[in-house]
Symmetry: D2
Subunit: 347 residues, 4 copies
């Protein structure tokens, strides 16, 4: 079968690899119908997390080909989506969907190692299926479902863990796909205003169209603009969806006393310079979140099914799996107004 | 000065009464600019809570004429709104705005007794001003502000105390002014669906225009319709805004296991037949709420100022104070598509 | 094998019945090591819920004899405890342990119908084993474990759902075994005082020994005594562990403004006379709870293992299964200082 | 009058200074009855926050001598305690006691600047009295009350903001007076175990006597010992009460997935090296807290009055105000088993 293989830094190839199979009695074999490229895939693509030989991709949906003997919640022929993050599948935390606190330390992400191949492929073996897979309701399309495998849940948890209450002023820093979802999910908590920060004009325009107030950070003084816009108070809740040191620092600085700063951008700095006295005087809550994807489905599935959320609108590019190398290049370069790329494994 | 006086059951007159004054060092004298009639005024109008001689009205805004020596948060000339429910003004609960749990048992409602005259008048004396009065921001009109004195806060707390989480199915029973606000405030908590129950076609149409799914209760089987609409599950949160025994019972019956039923309709039955085994099997939370109005302003004021809420849309009738008797009659009879009546004390 | 069979009202016999077996691929066969009689068994024993022919008992622990093909969390030979309340075992709620909100409406209690035999027997078939069974840690004895199958979890959830915060004044009404556990679990939330209400002197003495202030309700004025003891304020949280109309009414009356009343006593009145205006003026939260037993184990198991809780102290009587008829009689009659009866199926 | 004056680094003198007075219509003049030295006073004493000329002390209780015209909650002759941290006294946040989020940015600490003199003196002027002062109930002694002005509230909020739920494993790092109170307040939330970390043998012994498990950090591997003690899981909640970079880092490292780290030690590093990927993989919540003292009194006062907390046990040294220089020296040097020093302004 064909799969997207990372040969080295910025070196992607769609290669013939051994066929996937059912990875054990608790697993299933999935024929992939749609898969997407995620911003965190770029940490493998351009470093510093490059894993040569890895089969990429943790966002994918498909049709069940075969199941292991112990799988009970889905059957062959079912259209399903898969959590990009999985756990052991047996412990109480995993059974409750909270795979990030897996009691057996089994938290893993598809497509980030040689041990658990990814879903940018024609097929993939999915372990721990009963706790990581959801049958897709008829009211939800494949394009919507693929966004339930990582980034919509991540944006949702970023908003949930920002402690927004009705009437709050919210800041969202970074308006890539995850930031857009964080913005839309923040609106589920009744804020009076959302200030949306980015450098890119069309991202700011998209945020404005979604009801937020754009803050252009191109000149480097986003924090000052936020204070101006809030009469010097700052924001009650800040969601950081970039992952850069500078933007996390901005998130802390623009927070009002008593606020929560919720980081969902991926930052790999083991010594981020955290301003403790600022947090002390403001009595901040600071959260960093790897998403327990399955915990979010009971909220997000009905919101999509009822038309309250339209996550598929983030897809700006639809390409074939065979075009994966070009897709990564465009996505990484932010060319051509790209926000999110969907891949079709059949072409 | 002129004031709306209740002479007896269904007997309203606009009468000359002694001029109001500053009611003590912690109080102020308010010239009333706008005042409204509330559904709970009807409990005095048509019984069973008739208090002959009472000066009615607990929803009013105006301009400060004079303040007592101990008032610090507003001054003469300020445009202010007043909580319809007040407390002692000194205890920790009152200072935090939570007047319903006043530690000195001082919770009172304007216009419901001979002791605390109401605001359907040219002027009114307001005690405990520092804890019951808010300076109205420029961005908020008098018509919006008068709805912050009781029914928008009540609808808001009804929604807040229904424990709605994103994706939930919500039922709102009763689409009078309080129910409409409960519906709009429920939307602040990110539900996937709101089912709105009433008997009156134009109220159902208004709910549909606000994004809810209308459930016509005219044929008496609203509960069955709710189960049909939810695949037999019932609702995760139910807000009851009528106060009748039947509708509270319906609220309990249409709740899903684990749900919360939040009652904001005023029911005066000391022996409401509560179905305990139903609540047991469903593990229900059942709440009844008298609103601590001032606790809601920090959320509702920015939501109105930013244009997220437009409460003034509930006013269907604007009349002069001199027309109060006719206003009560029309409002009580639900004639002429009336939803909410605003009175102008200058005419 | 032998089992406790209910022939009719107050008519218990230990009978030979067909051997239990593995009840399906998701189930297991348990040899019962210890089982207890619960206050709610008495609703079957003396009516009004008598089910002639039922095999009684929902509190039991034992050793796994055999498992079905789909059971993964325990194996033959394991010492396990079983939730007295189970669900379908497949839906997301059940997998999270929240069996009372089973999405397939599969909530059932062992030993209360002809469909699901009870555990006061030498052996029992346990369905939905992966979601209803817990391997007992070595640090926990059988006598402790049997109390994790119903009444300690029920007392715990009664306290949890009373919304106790540090410094609160708590009232516990009813000091039977469930009430004693509610009292001990209330202490996990840092109250400043617990007022413990009962009629029976030795139960009041036991509560005092546990650090509570006894309130003797024998003269019928417990509510007045609670107001006296709290300077007229009432209690911030009330746990009702009797189930009588009178005691639920007392619970509502002795609650302070803003309080929560948490009912865990089993009341079967479909028309309990609920005083709505009292709840309105006090802004009450009223909860009735059927316990999702498995959700409590992650908290209660470490509390027992670390010696913070000693639930086995409630056992006043240890008898053989063959003495079940006498055990029920004594327990129902409250003879001989009985608080809780443990049965040994081997004798 | 006499006051403790900081002349420079490690240079304390008890000096004659101008008499304190009522500092405005919202203030009062307090004759100080007891005052204590706080660990955070040492940041002024030995640097880096030395303010030459400052009158030190933010922990004090006393008797009201005179009040301003606008003070209503206390009167001359009342025995009162004063929040060490105050705000503007007028805004909604201050009136609710949440002085750290003062909407007028008026948060200040007594005795840390030339603008707001401290309470290690014979008398002190207290601004914003209605929101910063509490009449001491008869059941509470001066020695207990002085601990309600800063460090018991700080320990309490450190525990509250650690999100402890019943059954949790808690780690407390640092067993000085604040850490001891954090430990005792953690017990209000029902943990199964508390692991208490320090270097000093008598502090570890004190923690053990309070029911915690001592972890000796003298050999530098406290984190490893915590993992050993928890079967490799780490702690569900960690309270850091030292303020050193190393101990904050240890707090993050010993946290289990999903845990909360609550920092109440004062750390002045504007670039603390925060390990973001560790927080990401563990989905941490990280909080830093300056205490809004008055918000804690409604919980802590009844806990002391009912005998559930005995904060006065931390006092190891009772000295006269005239001995302040020696008192600071001993406290800073940790000589003579000192844990907390109480000063008597009359001697």
């Amino acid at each position: 079968m064909r799969a997207v293989v990372l040969r080295g830094e910025r070196d992607i190839v769609v290669d013939d690899v051994p066929d996937a199979g059912v990875p054990g009695p608790d697993g299933l074999l999935l024929r992939v119908d749609r898969t997407a490229i995620c911003g965190s895939d770029l940490h493998l693509y351009h470093g510093p997390m490059t894993v040569p030989g890895a089969h990429l991709g943790h966002e994918f949906v498909g049709t069940v080909e075969a199941i292991g003997a112990d799988v009970h919640t889905v059957r062959a022929g079912d259209r399903v989506l898969v959590s990009g993050v999985i756990g052991c599948g047996v412990c109480a935390a995993c059974r409750a969907g909270d795979v990030v606190v897996c009691l057996n330390a089994g938290t893993r992400v598809f497509g980030t190692s040689l041990e658990l191949p990814g879903g940018q492929a024609e097929a993939v073996g999915v372990p721990a299926a009963d706790t990581s897979v959801l049958k897709i309701p008829d009211a939800i399309s494949d394009e919507q479902a693929v966004l339930l495998t990582d980034i919509l849940p991540t944006g949702y948890l970023g908003a949930q863990r920002a402690d927004i209450t009705p009437g709050d002023v919210v800041v969202v820093i970074g308006l890539g796909p995850v930031g857009v979802f964080a913005l839309q999910c923040a609106q589920l908590y009744g804020p009076s205003r959302i200030l949306a920060v980015d450098l890119v004009p069309d991202r700011l325009a998209r945020a404005a169209a979604l009801g937020a107030e754009p803050i252009d950070a191109a000149d480097g003084n986003a924090v000052a603009k936020i204070y101006d816009a809030t009469g010097g108070r700052g924001a009650n809740a800040v969601i950081e969806a970039v992952g850069a040191d500078q933007s996390i620092n901005d998130a802390i600085l623009c927070a009002a006393p008593g606020a929560t700063v919720s980081v969902i951008g991926v930052n790999l700095n083991l010594a981020f310079p955290f301003p403790v006295p600022v947090a002390l005087m403001k009595r901040l809550t600071f959260r960093v979140t790897l998403a327990s994807i399955p915990t979010t489905w009971s909220a997000l599935v009905p919101l999509i099914a009822s038309g309250k959320l339209h996550p598929e609108e983030v897809f700006t590019h639809r390409m074939g799996l065979s075009e994966a190398a070009e897709a990564y290049r465009v996505f990484d370069a932010r060319e051509d107004g790209v926000l999110k790329v969907l891949l079709d494994p059949t072409t």
